[in-house]
Symmetry: C2
Subunit: 512 residues, 2 copies
């Protein structure tokens, strides 16, 4: 370890001369980063979308420890280009069709920069009134764009809050529901509480339940099937609840999803909420991906019935241009959150909070400290406006439909489930395999398993090419390739090329 003496090397920049926030140096270096990123966006299409490095690549390229003396920004940026960029999977590439999109935009970026620059900690109102008040305002703006029931808005005695991710939002609501229920039936009954979702629901929900102390055996992933396009059936939900109630358990929480991860399936909110109501359950609607699209009147019906739910969330970082992280959560009853999540340490006491005239967002979330996330949402809303935001998403839906049409014209492929929003699920058909190597194996029937193997091989081959990146899902044992349109820079030509890439790789796989 360094001895105290070794600090002498820094004596030429004596302690009083360190200026890590010198305005003119900030200006100089800040402009460099902007140019670096502008060039990155200009060139991003050229990089292999999926990083092609091997595990452990970076350790070999970086020094073993922190430098003792400062290094210039020029050197650091050069290292970013040489050593970091090759290790990125380029989520902002127009050839990125994997997972769900995680959209950047100029407005979202500027808002994030401004928030980072001000670097206020908006745990309560007084710690930066603008941070709290802007958040309440934009959450009402966005809630109105979604035609959320008034009861979810501040103007209707509900309210919205920006969290990092859906996991946090759901954890907050589960904990609130849990404590509300336990206050009626006694804390010792925690072990009896049951959380419901479908087998298509995002793993974050089960994880949130587990963190909240719900017994792992009391998480119900109710089976869905192709017959309902993988939507949760209200009848199945009711049957499961009845069984649990008979067993002496207590139904607590239902997570319904609009736009599931595997196939963008849509749970029927109205009928599910009706079932939940019969048992006094909390209903959360997770519209992480698809919620954004519901600002378009033609998609709004997918969240019909949300008025029966207790909470609703969407990830603005997914398809709403804010960049990670920005999960919008609305609740009908903020006091339920506050009862579970508030703390009132003396060091945070202040007149404004004591007056109860203000929102203290620390009591609406897990963490105390919070970033000024509302700036980026505000910038996105104002920079693009309602009309262009709708066009942005419609354009992606149109491109997904184009891709779907291309797949449908190739008889070797099938569209596995009807396309919702901008995500296409497709695969090579088992029947296409019977003409190929699989025939050589002299199998009479090409099983679904062989089709799965072929599709897995196809996806791997596509992704290894670096030309495009897609990911997969497995539904009822069927391996499907997901093609999620949504990168900010994507244009029709990328979608057309992507399909050509799929066909080229399929040709190889199906001909060998």
């Amino acid at each position: 370890m360094d001895s105290l003496n070794s600090d002498n090397v820094a004596s030429h920049t004596s302690s009083s001369n360190i200026s890590p926030l010198d305005p003119e140096e900030f200006r100089r270096q800040g402009h460099m980063i902007i140019d670096f990123l502008a060039d990155y966006y200009r060139d991003v299409e050229k990089y292999p979308v999926l990083s092609q490095v091997e595990p452990g690549y970076l350790q070999k390229r970086l020094p073993k420890s922190t430098p003792h003396n400062p290094e210039p920004i020029e050197t650091i940026l050069q290292d970013v280009q040489e050593h970091i960029v090759p290790g990125l999977t380029h989520w902002q590439s127009p050839n990125f069709f994997a997972y769900f999109p995680n959209t950047s935009s100029i407005a979202g970026f500027l808002g994030e920069m401004l928030g980072t620059g001000f670097n206020v900690v908006g745990f309560n109102w007084i710690a930066s009134p603008a941070a709290t008040e802007l958040e309440t305002i934009v959450m009402d703006w966005l809630g109105e764009m979604l035609e959320l029931p008034k009861s979810f808005l501040f103007s209707g005695n509900g309210g919205g809050v920006l969290q990092g991710t859906t996991c946090e939002a759901v954890l907050c609501t589960i904990v609130s529901a849990r404590d509300q229920m336990l206050s009626q039936i006694g804390k010792e009954n925690l072990i009896k509480l049951v959380v419901y979702a479908s087998d298509q629901t995002h793993s974050a929900i089960q994880k949130a339940a587990q963190i909240a102390g719900i017994h792992p055996m009391n998480f119900r992933a109710i089976k869905t099937s192709k017959s309902t396009s993988y939507a949760l059936s209200p009848d199945s939900l009711r049957a499961q609840i009845c069984e649990d109630v008979e067993a002496g358990l207590v139904p607590l929480f239902l997570c319904a999803t609009v736009g599931t991860t595997s196939t963008a399936a849509i749970d029927p909110l109205e009928s599910l909420c009706a079932v939940a109501k019969d048992y006094g359950m909390w209903v959360h609607v997770d519209a992480a991906y698809a919620g954004s699209a519901c600002i378009c009147p033609e998609f709004r019906h997918f969240i019909d019935g949300v008025e029966g739910a207790n909470s609703f969330s969407l990830n603005a970082h997914k398809w709403f241009l804010t960049s990670l992280d920005c999960c919008c959560l609305w609740v009908k009853d903020p006091s339920a959150l506050i009862k579970s999540l508030s703390t009132n340490p003396e060091f945070l006491r202040n007149k404004a909070s004591d007056s109860k005239q203000v929102v203290d967002y620390k009591d609406w979330q897990i963490t105390l400290s919070r970033r000024f996330r509302s700036l980026k949402l505000w910038f996105v809303l104002r920079s693009y406006g309602v009309a262009n935001l709708r066009s942005f998403m419609r354009n992606h839906v149109k491109m997904a439909n184009l891709f779907e049409g291309l797949v449908a014209m190739d008889k070797r492929f099938e569209i596995v489930v009807p396309t919702n929003f901008a995500m296409v699920c497709f695969r090579i058909l088992p029947s296409a395999l019977s003409e190929t190597e699989y025939k050589n194996r002299k199998l009479d029937i090409v099983s679904e398993e062989l089709a799965n193997e072929a599709n897995r091989k196809l996806l791997e081959s596509i992704n290894m090419s670096g030309c495009v990146f897609m990911t997969h899902a497995v539904v009822e044992g069927v391996y499907v390739i997901r093609f999620a349109v949504g990168a900010t820079l994507v244009e029709e030509r990328h979608v057309i090329t992507a399909w050509k890439v799929v066909q080229d790789h399929a040709n190889v796989i199906l001909s060998t």
Copy 2:
């Protein structure tokens, strides 16, 4: 609500013409924001530190809903200056001495910008290998700077992870400890688990325990006193544990703090860990504020004994220049986190993860999605280097000592607890009041309560002036003013002026 037709107004920017990430427009607007922020830092000293707006101010100034059409960045930035800046409490002002610092720096800002710009979602290795690998590398770098035991580093089979805040870090460790214990004693015993801390421990710990389903009656905030400078006494801890064990409860978790929020008190790690070891408890060390200073050899001894703990965290956004949010958590046994927090949904399966050759950080935290936070830590470490980072913190400690000296020279005041790190706790002495208005009340003894009232008035008067911002704490019923030096831009002259402001306001209060 807007009809579909109203979208026609945007027809001149038809769907294919929307370019929210156009590189040249990004460059133009990006440079504008950099200049805006450079000017902000240049001028920040002039603004009232504590915002002087009234609750609801912003609602009156902003439109009622999202604009239908785009607005230019120039208009938005003008609104930021006119409507947002007055509503900020300026955490980056050199006159900000409240709470704990939340430090910005050029390097931290650049790293955050680059991470936001790349906007990758590093939930697992494959989703961006560089994001994961850089994090493992810088966590080892920083761990070595702190002389953490090898067992906390990847190079010693432990490892570090970047979380948002201490609340998240502690929640992860409590959940891991909980599940480890319940796997031995049975899930039905959740209700018996007890979490220990001192009455000085941050409220985040109690909140984390509550979220994790620990029975609220089973959180022990063990009393501390001035005799130990508000450090947790190992004897008190053992006595409480014995009592709980006798009552059939199960000791689970101890949070020890190095640098408490109220007075920067330091819990004695070595002896506390020894007690915890006797009962097989998980020990977490929360060094959110003071941990950063332990990179200086002369402060390192404050975390002596950390080798007996299971986990250790500090907030690099507090005093380590990264800007919010950046909580560094190290654990000895990553598998404990992974057992509690891992999910393996099919859509995330990939060869690298299946090979177990890589770290998938989604299993080390609450959320699935995660930002590329390691860039900003890497930028800070390289841009300043070990020597300057030490100087930066030493300089603040020196300024705190200067302030302490000034207070000590004024007989009306006292230093309430010995100053640790860069935080001074002081107050007007009860004896100073006997000469003033309080005398007029014809009280023979000026009680502590009247002193509290005077100090409360003094702090309010100081903060309302806008010249400086400090906050308070109450320890054993005594109201103290906290003066935390640490803003990146602070210089000796600000500290001297701050003391002058305190004296001026005290003069008024003590003479009326």
